[in-house]
Each structure stands twice: as structure tokens, then as C-alpha cells.
Symmetry: C2
Subunit: 418 residues, 2 copies
């Protein structure tokens, strides 16, 4: 008889991280595991013995479907890095004692680079000590910066939301353009990798020109060249839209958002704001050109907008979650499940398994060749890469006009006044 499965979520949430959780749960049950435990708040909560039995929450097919449509980490998440084994063996002993206590055979961790580091260390420790558990990583991050896998679950949905919102911001800006020009700057997440800001290029369709300029963190940002480009474009167009990554830096390595703080406009309390790039540039353009400007930040909505998730992404996240359990069940450990792209058009993907040692702590940036020579737009290759990942839609399950989510502290009809 098989034992139990333990699954956790870690790092920044996505719109589909729970679809992977649903996939883990379903495959574990189908393959005959007894219980599927969920760590509360990742390995950090688990070390405090915070865990739940997922069967208490996923009681039927409807709740499983609802979980697939619920954004952010159902189990809660953490940013917690395990020490190296030689640094602090005690932490590892504690984890493995808990695994033994709960009769865990399979340990699944859904996350990004840091989470794969956790899988690596735990599987190494199991090898060293002869522990029976198997450890498999499930990729997840809106940033799409994980190595080896073609892309990460969560990226497609964030890209879809970003592209759709970009179209809406552009349409809004065009309405007001009579006899007064305006410049709009949209700030997108992605500190080091420009996959998300590049996705604004998908807004370019038959009904929309898309953004005029796109600045990725992979290329150093030249403030004077930017102002010059905007000035030139304003001679031809009334409405300019620039998409900028929160992580763009000048040639000397300073974040543009820090420039804002350092130079003039630090917040009321002098704190370093890790947002504010768009706001700084909007102020600068207004100052220099006397044009009406607007800064738009998509903020946490870009990783939480399950109501506009990509069907390809939800389905892949679910499949990848199931594949982690399958891999462990068939004997793998110290691996991460990855997505291989078989073809762009028609889009086809396949699921593979890679050694987590090859993945951990690497960061996949946008290739320079997928950014134009001027460093202010992405190429057609970039667009062809992202486009298949934003396709299709899951209708949210609407209750009283709003998308319903599966949550742990669900209230009941009887004790909730509607």
C-alpha cells in the first residue's frame, strides 16, 4: 500500500499555481496514494508543523475545478531558503522527521528558482541519508525566468492579462487625443527578465497598434534616448504608449525607480520604493515636453487575475502538477518537471523531466536577439514564442456577479448574510 503525498507552494503567486495543486491532488489520488497533505505557507510553515489534509477542502469535482480557477497560493506561500546541508543539518533532520511522522513518500514543491533549490537540497539530503522520500519540483512563476523549461506555468496568464490591459489602456488614451497629445507609461513586473513587459507587444493586432516602445531590463536604459524617441514619435502620433519593466536600469546600473527616489521624489517617508519607474518617467516627459502624461502600474493584479487566465496555461499547469506525482511514482527524485515546445504553429507541447541540479538558481533572460537593435521593442520571434501561451479562456465560475474562488476559510450560506 502506498503512503502519502506532501505538496507545498512557494514564492510569488500566479493565476494558475492552484491549477498545478489541483493536478497534484488528482494524480496522487488516481495513483493510489492515501492522503495528500498541503504545507501551509510552504516549507516555512511546514517546519512549524503547519499542514492540512487537502481532502478536507477538495471534496468533489466542482471544488477541484474551482481550485483551478483560484489565483494566489491556496495553501499560502513563503520566501524561505533552506540552508546548505553542511551549514545546518538540524533543519533537514526536522523536515525528515516530519516526513516520516506523516508517512510521506512523495514531496512536491511548486515554485520558481528558490523552490527548485529546496528540491535540490532535500533530494541531496535524502541521498546522503538513504531516506526513502522522493522530491519533485513543479515549475511556476509569472516571470518565466526558469532555465531548461520552454516556459513556466503562470507566465501565459500574466502575459494575457498584461496584453489585454495594454489594449484597454491604449483605447482609453486614444479617446482623449483631440488637439492634445498624451504620453502613457505602463509599468510591468519583472526585475531582471523582460518576458512580461515584452508581452505588451501582443496588444498589436488588427484593432490596436500596441505600445510604441517597450523597454526590457536586459538592455540598459538611456533616459536621453528615451526622451528623444518620444519627441520624435509625437511628431507623427498624438498618443504614445511606452511599456517599461520595473527593473530597467541606466548604463551605470542604477534602477530608474531608484533614480526617482534618490534625486527628487522619494516617498513622503524617504523609503526606497521598488515601484515608481513609470511615475518617474511620466514626470520627466511632462517636465521636458510639457505633454500630458499618465503612469499606469498593473501591480499585483498581473499575477492574480485568474478571471482572464489563459486556457493553455491553466491546462499546462494542471498537467505539469499531475506529471510531478507521476515522475515521483515512477521513481524519480531530485528532478523538476518541464515543458518542451514541440511546435509553435499549431502549438504543441510535451512534458519532460530534468535533473534539478541543472536548473536551480539559473535565470533565463530574454535573448538579446529577440530585442530589436535599438533596445526599444521585441522582435517577431519573441511574439511567436509568447502568442500560443495566451490562447483560450476558462469562464470564471461567477457567483453574484464576481468570480468565485476556493478558499480555506470559506463561509457557509447559513452563516453568511448574502
Amino acid at each position: 500500500m502506498k503512503g502519502n503525498v506532501l505538496v507545498g507552494q512557494s514564492g510569488g503567486p500566479t493565476a494558475v499555481i492552484n491549477s498545478s495543486l489541483a493536478g497534484v491532488f488528482k494524480t496522487a489520488k488516481e495513483r493510489g496514494y492515501q492522503k495528500v497533505y498541503g504545507m501551509r505557507f510552504g516549507i516555512q510553515g511546514f517546519l512549524d508543523e503547519q499542514y492540512v489534509d487537502l481532502s478536507d477542502y477538495i471534496r468533489n469535482e466542482l471544488e477541484l475545478e474551482l481550485l483551478k480557477r483560484t489565483p494566489s497560493a491556496f495553501l499560502g506561500t513563503c520566501r524561505y531558503k533552506l540552508p546548505e546541508i553542511h551549514e545546518d543539518k538540524e533543519v533537514f533532520d526536522k523536515v525528515f522527521a516530519l516526513l516520516d511522522k506523516l508517512d510521506i513518500e512523495v514531496f512536491i514543491y511548486i515554485g520558481g528558482n528558490d523552490s527548485m533549490d529546496t528540491i535540490r537540497k532535500l533530494s541531496d539530503y535524502a541521498l546522503l541519508t538513504g531516506a526513502k522520500q522522493r522530491f519533485v519540483g513543479c515549475p511556476k512563476t509569472i516571470d518565466n525566468d526558469l532555465a531548461i523549461t520552454d516556459h513556466t506555468p503562470g507566465f501565459g496568464s500574466a502575459a494575457k492579462y498584461i496584453a489585454a490591459s495594454t489594449k484597454e489602456v491604449i483605447r482609453d488614451a486614444l479617446g482623449f487625443s483631440y488637439k492634445k497629445k498624451n504620453v502613457n507609461i505602463i509599468e510591468i513586473m519583472g526585475r531582471n527578465a523582460g518576458w512580461l513587459v515584452g508581452a505588451t507587444a501582443l496588444a498589436r493586432q488588427e484593432d490596436c497598434d500596441g505600445p510604441d516602445l517597450i523597454y526590457l531590463p536586459e538592455v540598459s536604459f538611456d533616459i536621453e534616448a528615451f526622451v528623444e524617441r518620444v519627441t520624435g514619435l509625437l511628431e507623427k502620433k498624438d498618443v504614445i504608449v511606452a511599456a517599461v519593466s520595473e527593473g530597467i536600469r541606466t548604463a551605470d546600473g542604477a534602477y530608474v525607480c531608484e533614480l526617482a527616489d534618490g534625486a527628487h521624489s522619494k516617498d513622503a517617508f524617504g523609503h526606497i520604493q521598488m515601484t515608481g519607474t513609470a511615475s518617474y518617467l511620466a514626470g520627466l516627459v511632462h517636465e521636458r515636453l510639457g505633454i500630458k502624461t499618465r503612469a499606469v502600474e498593473l501591480s499585483t493584479l498581473q499575477r492574480a487575475a485568474a478571471h482572464l487566465a489563459s486556457r493553455v496555461d491553466v491546462d499546462e499547469a494542471f498537467a505539469v502538477g499531475g506529471a510531478t506525482v507521476k515522475a515521483a511514482d515512477e521513481g524519480s527524485s531530485g528532478v523538476m518537471v518541464v515543458i518542451d515546445r514541440v511546435s509553435d504553429d499549431p502549438y504543441q507541447s510535451a512534458i519532460g523531466v530534468y535533473d534539478v541540479h541543472r536548473i536551480a538558481n539559473g535565470e533565463k533572460l530574454v535573448p538579446r536577439s529577440w530585442i530589436n537593435a535599438a533596445g526599444d521593442y521585441v522582435t517577431d520571434e519573441f511574439v511567436s514564442y509568447v502568442k500560443p501561451l495566451i490562447q483560450g479562456h476558462y469562464n470564471p465560475m461567477m457567483v453574484a456577479g464576481l468570480p468565485r474562488h476556493l478558499v480555506m476559510n470559506q463561509k457557509n450560506y447559513s452563516d453568511y448574510q448574502i
Copy 2:
């Protein structure tokens, strides 16, 4: 034989302002008018003889449906106030000369308070001069601050987007709450009226506690009381969410967003930013309590998110648009079409016609009795009022993964590389 209809859009756009335009077009055609002209950029563009024949763009039923799902003003919009008649008669003579030239019998203006002022002046002028044209206003504004009408088309969709986004922001914030508390401040549009910020209360459902605090511009904002409330709540909860209107003011009448600028944190160039309330308060809470904070601004997306429009709102906007032409066709002028609420549950509404003189330049605020005594939340009456207006969904028409819009400068398949 009937002559022609002229329609314009004015003021801030909404997600459903084009559904009203579609309604105007359809009813005008059904009632036998020859042409339906659209003013480009409202009365401002029309004075420069900027107009189009809408039949060139709405060529079939599919395009009519697409128009209903397209956010922002299809025709372009303006903020332009006509002078009083005694101040500058020439402007009026110019408008009426153009109306005669185009054989206009019916003039429809879709907009808010300022637009109804335009209808009032033009219909007064027609009375004074014996001009034959009839002038009818079609209500529109996300702010819901128009008098007489129960609510304005555009409000329900903005409220739905705001409530859904609030749920997503809350879910995201809860994921990160293990052993570290966080305070989130969401800034919502509405300078003087708190209808939109109050709509965040709809996020309170079986699966979500909703925001903890809601601050409307109708009640003066006490910064010390706010910090005290947050401090008290943090003793009971790990994640606090406050929704604030961009227009909240302290007892001495200063906008909180100006406080930020005036006191410490003006932008890099010293400009008054008419946003920044959430950012200021997030900085303040962090400074005082040492808690992680985040400011989220929904920005123009709250008026442009047609992808999450309310079906009730889209349908009412369409019906109200049609009703303007019907009213004019049956002889009314100097009126605005309004929505009367027949019942809350089941929700039923009816369309009426009111004298625009009773409407123009009035501003409907949230009644004090719909805000709690402490001034930091809305009452159940408020929720019962808004809830019917966010119900139902129109599936966007998705092309290549993104909502398709009807636009004037649509490119064709043949000259657009997909």
C-alpha cells in the same frame, strides 16, 4: 421622409459608452432615419466639422455586437463646455448651421454632467430661434454622480471590475501573510462621489472578507483615526486591506494626495499629482507601524475593462441609447433619458425621460446614511443598491487570445501580418 441623426460622446469614457452608441444607431435605423452621423471628439470636434457616417463602420450585426463590447469612446471624446448663450452666440450659430447643412433632426449626446449642460444650452437655443432639431441626453459616467437617474450606465461595469480586482488583490495579499503582516491600500477613482470606492464592499462574499476599511470622499478623512484603526485591526488580522477614494480630504479640506506632494513627496518635478493617495497612506503606515505595505491603483483600467463588463450594464446602456432616439422621434427635446429602479430583488428597471434643466450640473453623492457612523465602511443598503448592477457577463469576442474591439482605423488581414 425623416432626416438624419447626429450622436456624440463626451467626458470620461466607460466600458459601455459604445453600447449606448450602438443602441442609438440601431433605433435610429429602425425608426427610419436616413443617416446616423457621429461627431469625432464630441462637440469640440464637431465644431471643426469632424464627423463620420456610422454606417461606414457598423456594417452588420457582428460589428454592432463588437461595438457593444468595445471600451472607451469609439468616436473619441472631449471635455468642452459650451459658453452661455448670452456670452457667445456665434458658437451656437455655427453648431446650428452645421446641423442644417447635415439635415440633422435629432442630436444625441452621451455623457455626464457637463454633457447634459450642452443638451440644455442647445435645446434652449433651439427654442429661442425656433430651430427644428431635438436634443436628447444619454447618461454615462463610471462615477454614478448624475442626479435623477437611479444610476448611470458605466457605473455597474466599473463596480464589477473594481470588486473583482479587489478580491484578487486580497487573495494575493493573504498568500504572503505567514509570520509577517501586511497592509494594502487600493486607490479608486471618484473625486467627489464615493460610489466606486464603496463598490469594493461587494468583494465581501462567502470566499472573501472584502476590504476592512472603505473611505469615501463624502466623509472627511482623519489620518490619525485611520492609523489607529489599522493598528487595532492588525492585532486581530495579519492582512489588512483599505480602499480609499482618490478624492478623500482631511477636515481642513486638503486632498490627501496633495498632502503627499505638499509635505514631502512631490514628484521628481514638483508637479501636483492627482493620484498618489494610496501611495501616501502606504508610506505613512509603513513609517508609523513598521509593517510591509503595498499601494495599488486601478487607474484607467477601471473605466476601460470591457472584458469584465456587467451584462446588466451593457444591456441598460444599449437600451438607454435606443430610448434617446425614441424620445426625440416622439417629439421630446431638452431631456435626458434616465433609469428608474422598479425593484431591487428581483432587479427590475424602467426607462424614463426627464427635463434636462433638472439634471444639469447637479452632483449625486452617496447619502451619509449609506456610510457607517465611523465613516469607514458602507452600509447594507449601499450594497443592496449596487449588487444588481454588476450581474451577468458578456463573453468578449476573443481573437488570438485577446478581446477584440471595433475601432475606426481597423487594419485588414491582408495588410496586417498576424
